[in-house]
């Protein structure tokens, strides 16, 4: 809306006519001040992301050098306007209004007017509906985590109840057990783990034998390397190391599998089809683990003893026969039974907590990741606690 009736007295100040040097003739301002204090700025051609800072610095220098009482922006010469350009205009308006200088936009072509209307300024003033995500103070985090431990314990206990009911129910009616699933998990937990369990146990046996021999050599007691290794592995390290590996391999897998099924609504689908998710999904995993981890533990013990044997024969000049003899004398059947019972308990704990963490998942992929991590960490924690309990019980019984 031009006011053509007014005769202009043009006054062009060289210093304030700018063209962006990189984009010749793409952005330019022409400033008129027909009435003192009443500044009209004609913006030409391009007003986009590139020109954002140029416009604002020009506007600020007008504000500083000319002290206008009113600013009129004539947009008739604009041929290209994008959202950044629009934002520049609005920001300019805000800065002027903050200093009580009114700003009027006029002269825009229909097309440019359409763009201005589309990028409605009102939305900028709506406050955020959610508070900003701030990092939580350390004390708050500790407090929160402690409270969570309590509710976590309750949730785990209630899951244990459901799981026990489901397992007992399954054992009472063996035909209801999904044996194909049990076999599948026995393979993935047991058979597929043989290479890594064998390797780690072998190395563990080697290292233990070697380190202990360094001390025992001094007393000429090389032969007791065999006893040391046998007792340590069979009673403690075998079950624990195997359990930790199983927790890492299978406990995490159970949590991830069930967690993903929750995210995909597959568990909901099972429920609506009348299946009880714990019985359907958790029982096969737990049964498979209980059956297979003791076997894996024995396998681990054997490999560890093999490692010790290698050190004994190669490094300590023992004969294989002597080594094996000494080993046999150090452990008896009750020790092996003890180790197997421990292994079964560990297996139940690992599979149980893995499934529980999986069922706890709500929402997205990150939740599945957290559940998987938690399954492993919690399993290791439970293994250690159970092991201590076993040690105490054995002390008072044995």
């Amino acid at each position: 809306m031009y006011n053509l009736a007014v005769i202009y007295r043009r006054e062009i100040l060289e210093g304030l006519v700018k063209t962006s040097s990189d984009h010749a003739k793409e952005y330019s301002l022409r400033i008129e001040e027909q009435v003192p204090g009443d500044i009209v700025v004609f913006i030409s051609d391009r007003l986009s992301l590139h020109e954002f800072n140029d416009l604002l610095s020009d506007a600020r220098s007008i504000l500083k050098n000319r002290s206008p009482q009113k600013l009129t922006l004539n947009l008739g010469g604009i041929t290209y306007l994008d959202s950044a350009g629009t934002l520049a205009l609005y920001q300019l308006e805000e800065e002027y209004t903050a200093l009580s200088v009114p700003v009027i936009l006029q002269g825009a072509s229909t097309r440019i007017e359409g763009i201005l209307n589309l990028l409605n300024q009102k939305a900028h003033h709506i406050p955020s509906l959610n508070p900003e995500r701030k990092s939580i103070h350390l004390l708050e985090q500790i407090g929160g985590a402690t409270r969570m431990m309590g509710s976590d314990f309750v949730k785990v206990m209630s899951f244990v109840g459901i799981l026990l009911t489901a397992i007992i129910g399954s054992l009472l009616k063996p035909s209801s057990i999904r044996w194909r699933e049990v076999l599948f998990y026995m393979k993935s937990t047991g058979v597929d783990g043989l290479p890594i369990v064998g390797l780690i146990s072998l190395l563990l046996g080697l290292i233990m034998a070697f380190m202990s021999s360094l001390q025992l050599k001094q007393f000429g007691a090389n032969i007791y390397v065999a006893s040391l290794l046998a007792m340590a592995m069979v009673k403690e390290l075998g079950p624990i190391m195997t359990a930790i590996i199983v927790a890492g391999r299978s406990g995490s897998a159970f949590a991830a599998e069930i967690g993903t099924m929750i995210v995909n609504d597959e568990v909901n689908a099972l429920e609506t089809m009348g299946f009880e998710p714990t019985r359907f999904l958790a029982v096969p995993k737990v049964l498979a683990s209980i059956l297979v981890v003791p076997l894996l533990t024995i396998y681990a013990d054997l490999f560890a003893l093999l490692g010790g044997l290698l050190i004994g024969v190669i490094g300590l000049d023992l004969t294989a026969h002597t080594y094996i003899q000494q080993t046999r004398e150090s452990i008896d059947v009750s020790d092996i039974l003890y180790s197997l019972i421990k292994a079964m308990v560990f297996a139940a704990l690992i599979a149980g907590i893995g499934c529980q963490r999986g069922f706890q998942v709500r929402g997205d992929a990150a939740a599945v990741g957290r559940a998987t991590t938690s399954a492993v960490v919690s399993a290791i924690f439970l293994i250690i606690v159970a092991d201590s309990a076993f040690a105490i019980i054995l002390h008072y019984i044995g």
Binding site: M261, N264, D265, N268, A269, T272, G274
Partner: protein, 257 residues
């Protein structure tokens, strides 16, 4: 369509923690009809569906399906009812680790005494019904979205349930596939007399196959309209209902259709 109600919902209250989503919702679904639950975003239609299919327990109210109160504290009754219904979830919820055959055969194996052979033929029959004949050995990940939906329907129908529930079945489907789905749903309803409850926002399909609808509203926390789609579109005095059925924004005014 017989006049016996197969689903009765009375004074249902649904809440997530402290936030009440639905308050005093009451309605009935009659045997053999195609019943639609619709409403704007956040109105609680998916929540309502989850209560009716027994996934959530309401803090107040009663839901009776085929004479059995699923809100009573009776686990067995609930499981019984769940064997009489079939559900298609929005994300199809096919078991990713199983083939289509195994997905559909699962309820058949668990709940019937039929031989493997018969089950195999039944599964192929269900797949043929949804135009997926031959795909029984495919894994869900090998199928397109529309095909997975149809596989989900086949699975929902495995035990020939009295009631089928579809949660947003047309979401993400192209117009042609959506129209084919309309025809499929209609034919299941006509041929087998199955009562079908659909949660959806898809206007075209609502008009095409919906027989009776209820409309939920987020602010009202309940039902704001009930009737046939045409009734609601043409006779309603409620602005919200008019906007929904005429696909117009508040303040807009579209003539005719």
């Amino acid at each position: 369509m017989d006049r016996e109600p197969i689903i009765v919902v009375e004074n249902l209250r649904a809440a997530y923690g402290d936030a009440t989503i639905l308050e005093k919702v009451s309605f009935q679904v009659y045997g053999g009809e195609i019943f639609v639950i619709l409403g704007g975003s956040g109105c609680g239609k998916s929540t309502l569906l989850k209560h009716v299919i027994g996934l959530l327990q309401p803090p107040a109210g009663r839901i009776v399906i085929h004479g059995i109160d699923i809100t009573a504290d009776n686990e067995d009754a609930r499981r019984q009812v769940q064997q009489k219904i079939g559900v298609l979830f929005q994300a199809d919820a096919l078991f990713g680790s199983m083939s289509l055959f195994e997905n559909i055969a699962l309820p058949l194996i668990e709940y019937t005494d039929l031989s493997r052979d018969v089950i195999y033929r039944l599964v192929r029959m269900k797949l043929a019904l949804v135009n997926l004949a031959g795909y029984e050995n495919h894994m869900p990940s090998e199928l397109s979205g529309g095909m997975r939906k149809r596989a989900g329907i086949a699975r929902a129908m495995a035990l020939d349930p009295l009631l089928l529930f579809f949660d947003e079945p047309w979401a993400g489907l192209d117009p042609v596939t959506a129209a084919e789905l309309d025809i499929l749903i209609k034919s299941i309803n006509t041929a087998m007399g199955t009562t079908i409850v659909i949660v959806t926002q898809e206007l075209a399909s609502i008009f095409s196959i919906g027989q009776r609808v209820i409309m939920l509203d987020r602010e009202a926390r309940g039902i704001i309209a009930e009737g046939t789609p045409l009734e609601l579109k043409e006779n309603s005095r409620d602005r919200r209902v008019v906007n929904f059925f005429n696909r117009q924004a508040p303040g807009e005014n579209r003539q005719g259709n």
